[in-house]
Amino acid sequence: MSVHTLSIDGRPVAVEAGASLLAACRGAGIALPTLCHLDGLTPVGACRLCLVEVEGQARPLAACVSAAAEGQVVRTDTAQLRQFRRMAVELFFAEGNHLCAVCVANGACELQDLAVAVGMDHSRFPARWPRRAVDASHPLFTLDHNRCILCSRCLRACDELEGAHVWDIAERGEHCRLVAGLDQPWGEVAACTSCGQCVDACPTGALFRRQESAGDHQPRRDRAAVLQQARQQKLWRNQGEVPP
C-alpha cells in the first residue's frame, strides 16, 4: 500500500494513496466543516464548505472530492476560506426557511451547528422566503421542504445503501426540490421500504419521524458509515453495531 505525505496547516500528514483531502485533514486532527458529506456515502462536493487551499491550485478545492497527493501543501483555515464558509452558511439560511425555534431538529441540526462554527450571527443576504410544501403522506416519516438544503444525502443513502432510489432532485437552480418516486407523495411510492436511512442521513430537520418533537429527534447519522463498513467487512448479520 503506497502512502502520500503532505502538509496540512503546516503539519506533516501521511495518508493512504487514494484517500481524500478530507480524510487527510481529519487524520491531522483538523475538523473541516461539511454538510453534504456523510461518511459511508459517495461524496458529491455540493455544499462547498470543506474547501481548502492547495498550493499551486488557482481555486480552492472541495476536500471531500479531491484526492490527497504527494507533497501537497494544504491550508484549511485562511481568512479567505473563513469568509467563503461564512458566506456559504449565510446563503443556506437565506435560501430556505430555516427557523430553528420551531424546528424538530433544533439542537440536532448540522446547519445550526455550522452557523456557530463559522461565527454567523446574522445573514447579510435578504431571505428568499420561498413557499415550500410539507409532505406528510408517509405513515412513518415526514418531509418538510422548507428545511431542505438539497445536500442529497437522503438520495444517496436510499440509492447506495438501501438500493431503493426513492429520492431524486427535480427542477433546476433555485427551484430544485427533492422528489419521491416519480414526483409522487412519499407515502404512495411503493419502492420505499420505510428503512428510515434517509431520515438518519438528513443533516437538518427536513426529514424526521412522525410525531417526533425537538427533544426526541436524534438521527443516527453514523448509520451510513456503519452499514458501509459492515458491507466491506462482509458482516451480513446484525452484530450489535447496526441499529435494528
Binding site: V44, A46, A88, F92, L150, E171, G173
Partner: protein, 653 residues
C-alpha cells in the same frame, strides 16, 4: 467551378430560413420552370450558411463571370433572380469589365486539391470573379445609357427578364459609397441621386428591382474571412453525401485509415497548435494524447454541439452547413485515440442541425458505415446522435456525459477528467464541434500549415476561429478569421461598426461566461491570452456589439438572470449565490441601491467565482465583474440614488 455551370446557391441555414429562405427557393424553382429551363441549365441548390445572416435570405449565383450575392430578396423577385443568374446581363455592367491584373484568389493555393472539377479547398467563399477587381469597380460610362433618374417611374416594375435591361447609371456607381454599406456599389443602383436636380426624389425608383438586394462579395465582411472550418459551408448541399464527397469529404479519414498511424494523426494535430474552440482553449493535441495514452481498453469520442451562449451560432453553422466535416473530424479523432464508438451531442433547440446530422449519419449507414462504406476498411466506428433537453450546463463536459448516459444534466467535480474516466467509465474525448471540424483541413494541409495561420504576436492562438457577430453591429452574421486579428478589424472593418454610425461602447464576448471589452481596448487581438488579460474571454465565439444605449448594469443583470435560470442547482454558490447577485443587481438598477452594495456585490461575485463546482458557476460573475471593472461609473451612479436601504431589500450597510 466549371464555367459552363450556372448555379444558384440558396442559403438554407436557420437564419435565412427564418427570413423566408424556403419560400424564396421554391419561388426560384418555379421561376426556373416558368422560364423553361432544365435543371442542369440552372442548378438551384440549398446550401449552408452564406455568412451575412442579418441580410437573409441570401442567394449566391455562380456563373462564368464569377459569383454574385443577393440578400433579402422577396419571392416575387424570383424570376428576376433567375434571369440574372442566366447571365442576361445589362450592358455596361461591372462583370463585363476585362479581367484585372490581380484577380482575387487567382490560381490554386499551395496544396490546394482539385477533384472532378470541384475545388476542394478554397480560401474564398465565392468563386473567383475574373471580371472583378478586388476594389469595388466603377462601372464604365455608357453614353447610350439613359440616366437612372431619367427613367420614368413606371419602369420600376419588375423587369421582364427577357427584355434588355436598363444599364446602371454612371452617377450611381461613381457616387461615394457608404463605407459601411454592403450593397454592391457596382450593382445597378437602387436609389441613385437624381442627375436632374429638379426631378423629385420620389421618381428615382429602382430600375432593377434586384439592385437594392445585391451585395458586394468583396466587402471586407467577406474578403477578410479565411474559411477553413467553413470552407465548404455555403458551397455544398448539406443534405447530400455525394456533394460532400465531391468536395473531398472523408478523404482525410481514408488517408488516416490507410496511411497514417494514430500517433501520426495526433502529431499533426499537436503541430497545428489547435486549441479547444468551445471556450476553454485547452490544447487539442494534448487532450487527444491524454485519451490515447490511457491504459488499454475501450474509449469513447464525443462532439459537443450543445452551443448555448446567447448570441453564439458558430457550431450551428457548421452542423447545418457541413455536417460531414464534423463527422469526419470526429471519426478521425476516434481513430487517433483508439475509439470505436462516438456520440454527437446537439441541443434540442437546433432542430435543423439535428435533422442534417441525422440525415448525414443515415446516409453513411446506408453506404455501409464509416469504415467499410466510406473508406474500404473494416474499421467498425459507430457514431450516434444524442439530443439535449435544453440545459445550458450540458455544454459542460461532465454534465454532457451525464446527459448522454441518461442521467440528470449536472456536472461532477474534476479530476477525474473525462479523458481519464468518461462515458461508462471509459476514457472519453470530448471536443467542441468547431474544433473537430478544423481537423480534416489540418490533416489535408498539414499541422504546420494551420499553425502558420494567425498573427506572430499571438503564439498561443493559431489557426482560424469562427465568430458570430451580432448585436448593434451593421453586418451581423458568421465570420471565420485568422486568430490574432485585432477586434477592431472584425467589429468595424468587417462588421461595419455600430448601426447608425453611433459610437461603439463595448464588445461582449463569450456570453454568460465572458466579459466586455470596452471601446478603448478595441485594438486587443483575438487571442486567448490577451482577451483573458482584460477580464473577458475569447470564448466560444459569440461577439455581441454594444452601442451607446446599452446600460452595463442591465447587461450584467441579463446575464446573471441567464445563469440563475441555467444553474443546475447542484452546488450552493451557483444555485443560491447567483440568485442573490441577481437580486442585488435588481436593487441597483431599480434605484434602491445603498452604500456598500457594490462591495457586497463584488464580495459575493468573488465567492461564487472561486467556490462554484463547475465552469458555469465559476464564470457566472464574469459579465458582472468585467463591466464593474470597465464601467464602474455606471454602477456608482446607480448606487447614488439610494443610501438608507429600503424595507423590501437587504441590509443597508
Amino acid at each position: 467551378m466549371s464555367g459552363a455551370v450556372r448555379r444558384l446557391r440558396c442559403c438554407d441555414g436557420s437564419a435565412c430560413r427564418n427570413g423566408g429562405g424556403i419560400a424564396l427557393r421554391q419561388a426560384l424553382l418555379a421561376a426556373r420552370a416558368a422560364a423553361g429551363l432544365a435543371e442542369q441549365e440552372l442548378v438551384i441548390r440549398a446550401v449552408g450558411c452564406l455568412r451575412l445572416c442579418g441580410r437573409g435570405p441570401l442567394v449566391a449565383a455562380d456563373g462564368p463571370g464569377g459569383s454574385r450575392l443577393w440578400g433579402g430578396v422577396p419571392p416575387e423577385l424570383a424570376s428576376a433572380l433567375v434571369a440574372a443568374a442566366r447571365g442576361r446581363r445589362r450592358r455596361g455592367q461591372a462583370l463585363a469589365i476585362p479581367a484585372p491584373a490581380h484577380p482575387p484568389q487567382a490560381g490554386p493555393a499551395p496544396g490546394e486539391l482539385r477533384l472532378a472539377g470541384a475545388r476542394l479547398w478554397g480560401p474564398c467563399l465565392w468563386e473567383p470573379a475574373p471580371g472583378r477587381s478586388p476594389q469595388p469597380p466603377v462601372a464604365p460610362f455608357d453614353p447610350s445609357a439613359p440616366a437612372a433618374s431619367a427613367a420614368p417611374a413606371a419602369s420600376a416594375a419588375p423587369a421582364d427578364p427577357s427584355a434588355p435591361a436598363d444599364p446602371s447609371a454612371p452617377v450611381a456607381s461613381a457616387a461615394p459609397a457608404d463605407p459601411s454599406a454592403l450593397v454592391d456599389p457596382s450593382a445597378p443602383a437602387a436609389s441613385v441621386a437624381p442627375a436632374d436636380p429638379s426631378a423629385p426624389a420620389a421618381s428615382a425608383a429602382p430600375l432593377d428591382p434586384l439592385a437594392p438586394h445585391q451585395l458586394d462579395p468583396h466587402h471586407p465582411f467577406f474578403a477578410l474571412q479565411r474559411p477553413v472550418v467553413l470552407e465548404c459551408c455555403g458551397l455544398i448541399d448539406p443534405d447530400s453525401l455525394d456533394d460532400a464527397l465531391d468536395h473531398g469529404a472523408y478523404r482525410q479519414l481514408q488517408r488516416c485509415l490507410h496511411q497514417l498511424t494514430p500517433a501520426a494523426v495526433r502529431d499533426e494535430i499537436r503541430a497545428s497548435g489547435l486549441r479547444g474552440r468551445g471556450g476553454a482553449g485547452y490544447p487539442t493535441g494534448l487532450k487527444w494524447d491524454t485519451v490515447a495514452l490511457q491504459p488499454p481498453g475501450p474509449r469513447q469520442v464525443v462532439a459537443n454541439g450543445d452551443e448555448g451562449d446567447p448570441g453564439a451560432f458558430m457550431d450551428r453553422t457548421v452542423m447545418e452547413g457541413d455536417p460531414h466535416r464534423l463527422l469526419e473530424g470526429l471519426a478521425i479523432a476516434a481513430y487517433a485515440v483508439g475509439a470505436e464508438h462516438g456520440f454527437v451531442y446537439v441541443r434540442a433547440e437546433y432542430p435543423l442541425a439535428i435533422e442534417r446530422l441525422r440525415g448525414a449519419l443515415a446516409a453513411i449507414a446506408a453506404r455501409g458505415g464509416f469504415g467499410p462504406g466510406l473508406c474500404g476498411s473494416p474499421w467498425p466506428l459507430r457514431i450516434a446522435l444524442r439530443v439535449g433537453a435544453g440545459a445550458y450546463v450540458c455544454g459542460e463536459e461532465t454534465a454532457l456525459l451525464h446527459s448522454i448516459e441518461g442521467g440528470r444534466g449536472t456536472p461532477r467535480p474534476r479530476p477525474p477528467y473525462p479523458a481519464q474516466r468518461g462515458l461508462g467509465g471509459a476514457p472519453t474525448l470530448i471536443n467542441n464541434v468547431e474544433t473537430l471540424a478544423a481537423v480534416p483541413a489540418i490533416l489535408r494541409q498539414g499541422g504546420a500549415w494551420y499553425g502558420a495561420i494567425g498573427d506572430p504576436a499571438c503564439p498561443g492562438s493559431r489557426g482560424t476561429k469562427v465568430f458570430s457577430l451580432s448585436g448593434a453591429v451593421v453586418h451581423t452574421g458568421v465570420v471565420e478569421v485568422p486568430l490574432g486579428l485585432p477586434l477592431r478589424t472584425v467589429v468595424e472593418t468587417m462588421g461595419g461598426g455600430v448601426v447608425g454610425g453611433a459610437p461603439l461602447k463595448a464588445v461582449q464576448t463569450g456570453g454568460p461566461s465572458g466579459g466586455c471589452i470596452p471601446a478603448a481596448r478595441l485594438d486587443t487581438r483575438l487571442d486567448y491570452e490577451a482577451m483573458a488579460g482584460l477580464g473577458a474571454i475569447l470564448g466560444s465565439g459569440g461577439m455581441v456589439v454594444l452601442g451607446p444605449a446599452t446600460a452595463m448594469p442591465e447587461l450584467a443583470r441579463y446575464f446573471m438572470g441567464f445563469c440563475v435560470q441555467e444553474s443546475c442547482g447542484l452546488c450552493l454558490p451557483c444555485r443560491a449565490g447567483t440568485v442573490q447577485l441577481a437580486a442585488l443587481l435588481d436593487r441597483l438598477i431599480e434605484g434602491r441601491g445603498a452604500a456598500g452594495d457594490l462591495e457586497r456585490l463584488e464580495e459575493l461575485a468573488g465567492m461564487v467565482r472561486a467556490t462554484s463546482l463547475c465552469g458555469l458557476g465559476q464564470s457566472a460573475p464574469n459579465p458582472l465583474l468585467s463591466t464593474l471593472r470597465h464601467f464602474r461609473g455606471e454602477y456608482l451612479q446607480a448606487c447614488a440614488g439610494g443610501g438608507a436601504g429600503d424595507p423590501a431589500g437587504g441590509p443597508p450597510a
